[in-house]
């Protein structure tokens, strides 16, 4: 039996003077438990653990880019298109992923394997283009690397 979410959340909340501070860690845990996104029941679970309303929890989640309110694919591919990467070919990298996966930024492949997103600067600007795959950063990615990366990810 995995540890109940409420127990895990309360243990985290105990680190803070006010338990409300644990809402972001709690949402993150709930998101992991629900396969990478936050369905309506996740807000009820988090709300119950922290004595907050589900609507409050959802209101917090919608503010932050890393909480997903719709299902995401098994692998999350995020391409930075801010200026430092942009000056060095980020758009070509994004287009290469669009071609390799057959989806537009913001979309998930029909088989549920991949979600492709464009993201704002993720803090690796000196090593463009930066691509985050399930939050792990790949640096110096070029459009030519993309087919190989997609191959790898399909089989991992």
């Amino acid at each position: 039996m995995p540890r109940p979410l409420a127990d895990q959340v309360r243990a985290i909340a105990a680190q803070y003077p006010e338990s409300r501070s644990a809402v972001m860690p709690a949402l993150r845990i709930a998101q992991e438990r629900h396969g990478g996104w936050l369905p309506p029941e996740a807000f009820e679970e988090v709300g119950e653990a922290l004595e907050l309303t589900p609507a409050y929890c959802k209101g917090v989640a919608t503010f932050y880019d890393m909480f997903h309110l719709a299902p995401v694919g098994r692998r999350l591919v995020e391409v930075c298109t801010n200026i430092c990467c942009g000056l060095r070919g980020a758009q070509e990298v994004l287009s290469a992923f669009e071609r390799a996966l057959g989806v537009q930024p913001g979309e998930t492949t029909p088989d549920g394997e991949f979600t492709l997103r464009a993201v704002e600067c993720i803090g690796g600007c000196g090593w463009p283009t930066v691509v985050a795959i399930d939050d792990r950063h790949r640096l110096n990615v070029t459009a030519g690397d993309v087919p190989q990366i997609v191959q790898e990810l399909r089989h991992e």
């Binding site: 801010n82 060095r88 537009q104 600007c125 463009p128």
Partner: protein, 442 residues
């Protein structure tokens, strides 16, 4: 004396390991400082003239002096380390956390002692998963070695919002709210986290503190470009250079030296067009201005700032209207929406820049763009609005002919050949999923 301060020893040793850091004298300053009066610790930081590395360049010792004593405010005092690093062009705090996490922890504990605090929070941006894990491991090691002496350090992960790097947005987020900025006063030193006295400092600022104490404030103050720009910075070099990356150097080095001596110059035989000296929110400099030393006063004289020391190099392939558009799209996306000039102004900037880029604007709309920037500047609840308006206005002023050419030619003079052509922005992204039935994934 070596000029490397914050990253000292990291090339030779694996300083993520406590034993290695201690072998270099790590945590010795913490031990020494715990025997000192807090006021004397702050005195050293003032003697060093250590200024904040998060962008605003505020004197660190003075900020600590604003924190009331326990007799004036009996609430707990808090230290918040700002590891949200989200300004486009910056990636130095990431390197500090990845390579010298114990120096950050030691600095945090010294800062806690200086303001008589038992509680440290480190707010790290959610996207830095590797740095989070490295820092968490270092914290575990330091805790087991009983270096905390009753102080708690909580590592708190953000979840993707630039505004949470702004100190009041950070506090809101840490309290479990949407990360919207707070109006000030009161300032965090008086009423910050949980309405209690709070010191907020950037990762690099905090990680500099142990070395300042080791060298002594007066010695530290000789490094760099005294009297104001003392010490080193981790310059984040990106854009059109051969070797991007972080370079720790004394303040006062010129942009030309950074680009050509350290970063290997401009690749592909292209020509330098412009440089942003401090991160995407800072006014731009032209290729003719790169002999300016990277220090506060010299950059102020050119109407720009060192900011977070992010040097973004732009070559002659880039269209300045597209650059302005992409920068404006970022700030529009990140506006917390609390105040009107920023929320509406950034949207308006984007619309005008889109029209100019498409060749559908008139000359009066170019003037309107500057007017919109002017109506944002200094009129917002927090500096994010300025962060959008300042750079874009500077692109128009410095590259006005290029903006005008878009209008006169009815389109982009680069004709699709700009390096930034068609760059997609997340603000235009909508989430689609093939089949969603009653919230169940396909």
């Amino acid at each position: 004396m070596s000029d490397v301060i914050v990253l000292a020893g990291a090339d030779e040793r694996d300083l993520t390991q406590l034993g290695e850091y201690r072998a270099l004298g790590g945590y010795a300053q913490l031990e020494r400082v715990r025997g000192m009066a807090p006021a004397d610790v702050i005195g050293e930081l003032n003697a060093a003239n250590l200024r904040g590395r998060g962008g605003a360049f505020f004197a660190t010792g003075r900020k600590m002096q604003f924190i009331p004593g326990a007799e004036q405010n009996p609430n707990p005092h808090y230290v918040c380390v700002n590891a949200d690093e989200s300004e486009p062009g910056t990636f130095k705090d990431r390197e500090i956390m990845n390579r010298v996490p114990h120096r950050l922890i030691e600095g945090s504990l010294i800062a806690a002692h200086a303001i008589d605090s038992q509680h440290v929070f480190i707010y790290i941006r959610g996207e830095y998963l590797d740095a989070f894990e490295t820092l968490r491991a270092a914290l575990d090691e330091a805790r087991k070695a009983e270096l905390f002496d009753g102080v708690t350090i909580v590592l708190h992960r953000g979840a993707g919002a630039y505004i949470c790097g702004e100190e009041s947005g950070l506090l809101e987020s840490l309290e479990g709210h949407r990360g919207q900025a707070r109006s000030r006063p009161p300032y965090p030193a008086i009423s910050g986290l949980y309405a209690s006295p709070t010191l907020i400092n950037n990762v690099e600022t905090i990680a500099t503190i142990p070395k300042v104490l080791e060298l002594g404030g007066a010695e530290y103050a000789k490094i760099g470009a005294p009297p104001d720009s003392t010490g080193t910075r981790l310059f984040c070099v990106s854009g059109n250079v051969v070797r991007g990356g972080n370079y720790e150097l004394p303040m006062g080095i010129t942009i030309r030296e950074v680009i050509y001596d350290l970063a290997g110059g401009i690749p592909d035989g292209r020509a330098l067009k412009a440089v942003i000296p401090g991160g995407s929110s800072m006014p731009i400099l032209t290729a003719g201005q790169i002999d300016v030393p990277l220090e506060h006063d010299a950059l102020r004289a050119l109407d720009t700032f060192l900011g977070a020391a992010a040097v973004i190099v732009v070559d002659d392939r880039a269209c300045m209207v597209q650059l302005g558009l992409r920068v404006a799209q970022f700030y529009m996306h990140e506006s917390c929406g609390k105040c009107t000039p920023c929320r509406e102004g950034t949207r308006w900037m984007v619309q005008l820049l889109e029209a100019i880029e498409a060749g559908e604007a008139t000359h009066s709309q170019l003037d309107l763009l500057l007017d919109v920037c002017d109506r944002i500047l200094g009129k917002c609840l927090c500096p994010l609005g300025d962060a959008a308006a300042m750079p874009v206005a500077s692109y128009v002023v410095k590259f006005r002919d290029e903006f005008r050419a878009h209008i006169d030619q009815g389109g982009c003079p680069f004709g699709g050949e700009s390096s930034l052509d068609g760059l997609f922005a997340p603000v235009d992204q909508h989430t689609h999923h093939p089949v969603v039935e009653e919230g169940v994934p396909a």
